[in-house]
């Protein structure tokens, strides 16, 4: 699988400790859920960020998707809490 830019926002970013990273997930990582499982193993911060999975929203290539979505040829995947703008 090619390189994916992973973005974190708001409380998710604070837990992970960075706002952005480039990752190359191993074979078998085919859905957003798979990606979260794998990212959670990268550091204590990642583990903490992905612990409350129900509170994390996901976007693939800047479009909201459910976590069961396939990654396909995604180049940008974002994780963030429920939005609170407006």
């Amino acid at each position: 699988m090619s390189v994916i830019t992973v973005l974190y926002f708001a409380s998710v970013k604070e837990k992970v400790g960075v706002g952005q990273e480039q990752v190359s997930p191993p074979a078998g990582i085919s859905t957003v859920n798979d990606l979260m499982d794998w990212l959670a193993t990268r550091s204590d911060g990642h583990a903490k960020a992905f612990a409350s999975r129900a509170m994390i929203k996901t976007a693939v290539d800047q479009t909201h998707v459910p976590p069961s979505s396939p990654l396909g040829n995604a180049t940008e995947v974002a994780f963030f809490p429920p939005v609170t703008g407006g």
Binding site: F9, A10, Q62, F80, P82, V83, T84, G85
Partner: protein
């Protein structure tokens, strides 16, 4: 008719100037509905019982925020007959009473304008990638999404 306006900006904006600019672009509209969201200086149901808030910081997802707002505008245009639509959203550091968001919809008939405006702010609140962090006496804290916002947005589900 000009195309819709969608702006995400760090700079403050002037709601009155934005309203007049919008009206000047929609001279044939009979009804213009506007919503202005401004920074509240308290959390909770009302100011008397709420926790004082002294400052706010608004984070957003650059790129997706503009895309999502444009998609909401296109959706509104497909549901109602609109002469014009304008959505402006602040980011960065805000002080109490600062305008955060400005939504305007113009139509020949007021029902379309009123409904499109309510739709836009309701969906913006649940779909546009912005996050508020409020500073209270206990320090800065992320604002949590509310089920009331989800319920209001769900009214517009087709």
């Amino acid at each position: 008719m000009l195309g819709p306006t969608v702006r995400v900006q760090r700079e403050p904006f002037d709601p009155g100037a934005e309203l007049n600019a919008f009206l000047s672009q929609t001279p044939h509209a009979g009804g213009i509905a506007v919503f202005v969201g401004q920074m509240r200086d308290f959390r909770g149901a009302d100011r008397a019982s709420g926790e004082p808030v002294s400052a706010m910081s608004l984070e957003h997802y650059p790129g997706m925020a503009e895309r999502e707002l444009s998609a909401l505008v296109a959706d509104a245009q497909s549901r109602w007959r609109l002469d014009g639509v304008c959505v402006i959203h602040r980011t960065g550091d805000l002080a109490p009473a600062d305008p955060i968001v400005f939504v305007a919809a113009a139509s020949a008939h007021r029902a379309d304008a009123l409904e499109a405006c309510a739709f836009l702010i309701d969906w913006l609140k649940t779909k546009a990638p912005f996050w508020k962090k409020e500073t209270t006496g206990a320090g800065p804290r992320w604002v949590e999404a509310t089920s009331a916002d989800d319920a209001r947005a769900a009214r517009w589900d087709k």
